[in-house]
Structure formats: C-alpha cells, structure tokens
Amino acid sequence: MGQVLVFGLISGGIYGLFALGVVMVFRGTGVLSFAQGEIGTAALYVAAYLINDQGLPWVVGALGALVFGIGVGVLFELLVVRRMIGADPVSTAVATVGLLLLITTIEIQYAGSTLISVRGPISQHFAVFGVEVTGTQVLGVLLALALGFGLQSLLRRTDFGLGILAAAQDPTAVRLVGVPLSRVSATVWGAGAALSVIAALLVEPGIGVFAPGFASQLYLVGLAAAVIGGLTSLPGAVIGGLALGLVEAAANKWFGQSGVHGLRYVVVLIVLLVVLVGRQLLPELRARFDTRAEAVA
C-alpha cells in the first residue's frame, strides 16, 4: 500500500507538471499542444551535453536546458501559432503535431537510439513508507503541488498574469481592455515548454536513460491528466496527474506480473473514458433522480 502511494505520487507529480503546461497553453491561447513534451526530451540532450560532455555543474546544465526549451517554445509561437491567430484551434493543434515530428526527427538524427542519462539535482536517498526515494523525486512532487496550488494566486498578483488568466475566458475581450494578446501567447508557450523541461529533468534520473520520444510518452499521460482536471484548472491538472499516477501504480502492483506491455496507456485510457463518459452521463442521471424525487414529493 505504502509502495503504491509513494510510486503513484512520484510519477503523478511528473504527470502533473506536464499537465500544468498543457493547461497554461490552453488557457492562454485555446490550443491543445502535442509538441511540448518532446521539447523536454530535446532539452535533456542539451543538459546531457553540458553536464556529461562539458563537465559543467548540474545547475548550469539545467539552466541551459531551460533556456533552450523556452526558446523553442517561444520560437514556435512566433513563427507558427501567431500566424494562426483566428484560425480554428484544431488546425493549430495539428501544427503542434508537426513540431513534435520535427523535434523527434532531429533527435534521432542527433542521437540515434543511443541511450543517454543525466543525473538529478539531489541524489540523496530517503526511505518513505519503507520505499527508497531520491531527493529529486520528492522535489518533483513538491514542485507540482506548489505550482498547481500557487501559480494561480501568483498570476493574479500582476496585471499581465491576470490577463493570462482572463485570456482563456475570452481572448477578444482581453485585447479590448488593452492586454497584448501576442505577449500572452508567447508567455504561455514559453511557460509550457519550461514546465516540460523541468518535468523531464526531474523524471529522467529515476528512470535512468532516455532516447528520442522519451518525454512525449509521459506528456501524453499529462495531457490526459489535464483533460481530467477540466483543461482550464491548474490545481485540477495536478490533481488529475496525481490520480493517474496512483491508479497506474496500483495497476502495476496488482497486474504488473501479467507482463502486459503498455499497461500505463491502458490504465490512462480507462480512467479518461470513465471521467469523460461520466461527465456526460452525470447531469442526465441527476435529472432523472430529481424527477423521481419530485414524483415522491
């Protein structure tokens, strides 16, 4: 039980970080981005180059990765997303799939299928509920919780942050009060990329190696977590991520021996379907219950 809880929260925190990026971009621009996760992988190559090859401290490598990731996110916003303002968000979402393919192709060119690893910021071990965890893993969970529950109030403090929060509700109305929507857009794409880079940097040491496509696999779960959280809620994204992490850990414990490959995706899909279908059915069921109650009264 303790094992399920610890493993679940650790991977759930990572899903939550990815999901926060999904929500930021969706809130700021109304677009569902599929590429952001892979920006995390690409940034890991940058970190690996700086830390492993150049022998620089972890912090420097991480900062380099962060700057690179934000750069890619902002550049994509400038070159593609901005030109598609007013286009249907589905087209922009498809453009993000294009970016995903592009990044993956470049990664394969650069690294092939060589497995690389980057160490984490804190390698000390702790025992939590009898399970060995690293400081890096704990940091991931704490960061996800802090951002999930703190980012909103942080954004509310500045006028521009308020503009970001309002842009999701009505982008045109935001422009009509004078908030520069293009800056909102660039900021959320940069933030979304940054969250992916942070998640990738914190999750990789626990897994040990990475290869092209690494972060996208986790990002897809984050996408599902964001949808479960309602797509616009920052706390909801983190709660969704933690929930998926816990369900996955439980499934692993009880069905792990079955040797089913890709169990993670089966679990995520089932939870997603239950939530989505439930959301559709619930109002109907409630209405039926209400009419029954009326008849009784």
Binding site: L162, A166, A173, G178
Partner: protein, 270 residues
C-alpha cells in the same frame, strides 16, 4: 470646424469571401454621441469591430484625432484612449469584480499607476454595488450588475472615445433606464461615444447624430433633431417611434432578465 475625434472613411470589411461592409463613412465630433442604427445583420457590430481593430478593414481608413490607425492592433488603440463596452456584457466571469476593473485599467496602470486609485474610487462612487461586491466573482452577479461592471471596466481606463454595442439588450426596463443615465453622465464629462442600438427609442434618446445602416452601408446620417418618422420607416422598416420615445422604451423593453444558470433543485420533503 475642428477634425472629428473619430473618422471612418469608406471602410470595407468582411469575412472570407463575403464582404460585410461596403464603404462605411461616419464622422464623430469630439464630445458627441453618434448612434448607429439598423436591422439585425446590417453591419453595426462589424463597423464597431473595425474601429476597435478586431476585424481588419480591407480598404478605407480609420482616423483617431486625425491620425491613421487603420493598421493598429486593438491593444494600441486602447492605449491611445479607446474604450469598449462590448455586446453581451463580456465581463471576465472567473475574475472578481475588482480584478475585472484592474484589468480594465491595464493601459492606465502601465502609463501612470498613481492615477489608478482615484480612478477606481470614481468607478466605485458611480456604481456603489461594485464596491460592495468587489471580491465577488463577476460571473455570479446579476445581468444588471454585470452591465455596470462592464461600463465601469471601460471607464476606469479614462478613455476619450467609448464604443458601446447594444447596452440595453437583455436588461430589465429599470436597469436599462439606469444605464441610460450613466451613459448620459459619462457623455456630459466630455467623453465621445459611438452607440449601437437595436432599441431605436433607447438609442435616439441618447445620441446627437444618427447613422442608419442597411446591408453594410450608411444610408442616412443626420442630427437626431432632423430625423422624421418617414426617414426611419424608409430605412429601418419600422413604425412611429419618435415623440413617444421614452414611454415606449418602458413598455416595449419588458424583456426579462436572462434566466439564472443551473437547474432548480428539487428538495425532498418528508
């Protein structure tokens, strides 16, 4: 005569293959209220949106204080003194009343933050209900209160020119009358306005000049005093509204407030 504060010069605009505005020209002198009237779909809102910069003008010019702003984005126009009271009272529902106002003052606060406190106070004095409900989420207020917030959010930025689209739509007759008084007060402080209204009686009781639109062109422009029933009937296909403007407004605008969201819950009684 001095240059009008706003000049719309032979503007065309549209969406995709359709052209909606076929050469619209309207002059709005500083300190006046210009009314744009016309049937549903005539292009009134699109005209305001080209002035706002939300819909691009395909040809023609928009001048603000003589300066060509046709290619400016909406944000820059707001920073230069344009304010908006959009159709359908688009307050930010998930922000509080005070956050809505703070966002409304976005460009004022960037220019000179020290003026914000006084400006906020002035809005609260004009709408005491907003002061009372400053921490409430805007989406949970009544339609009339949201209308006040929408006006306050435009005024707090101290605009020179305010574009108002269908302010009376969906309001109770009393709330509509209150709103009219507010708009009158604001105009009396020298703010220039462009007002679009479906409710001709409401609109004519406010504006100085009337511009009648039909399928994307202005078919008649004149001071309100020079309008007669025949002109209105010809261009808008409506009967007599002049003279009885105010009383008709009360009786014909008995539109109920929009229903509250959410289903009424049935309580079980033992």
């Amino acid at each position: 005569m001095s240059t009008p504060l706003l000049q719309i010069l032979d503007v065309t605009a549209g969406f995709g293959a359709t052209t909606v505005l076929h050469g619209v020209s309207i002059d709005v002198p500083e300190g006046s209220i210009a009314g744009i009237f016309g049937l549903n779909g005539a292009g009134k809102s699109v005209t305001l949106k080209t002035v706002a910069g939300v819909v691009p003008a395909r040809s023609g010019q928009v001048l603000l204080d003589g300066e060509d702003i046709t290619r400016w984005g909406p944000e820059k126009r707001v920073a230069r003194g344009m304010g908006h009271i959009p159709q359908g009272r688009q307050v930010f529902p998930e922000l509080t009343v005070e956050e809505n106002l703070r966002l409304g003052a976005y460009t004022l606060r960037r220019r000179d933050r020290s003026r914000y406190a006084a400006s906020l106070d002035a809005v609260y004095d004009r709408f005491p209900v907003l002061r009372e409900r400053r921490s409430q989420l805007a989406g949970t207020m009544s339609g009339g209160q949201q209308a006040s917030l929408c006006v306050g959010r435009a005024l707090i930025n101290q605009p020179r020119l305010v574009l108002v689209d269908e302010p009376s739509a969906g309001l109770s007759p009393v709330a509509a009358l209150e709103l009219r008084e507010v708009l009158r007060d604001v105009a009396a402080t020298g703010v220039t306005m462009v007002l679009v209204e479906q409710n001709i009686a409401f609109g004519l009781s406010l504006v100085d000049t009337a511009h009648l639109m039909q399928t994307g062109t202005v078919v008649h422009s004149s001071p309100v005093g020079d309008l007669d029933d025949a002109t209105l009937a010809t261009h808008l296909g409506i009967g007599s509204v002049l003279g009885a403007a105010t009383s008709r407004m009360l009786s014909s605008r008995a539109t109920p407030e929009p229903p509250k969201k959410g289903k009424p819950r049935v309580r079980r009684t033992a």
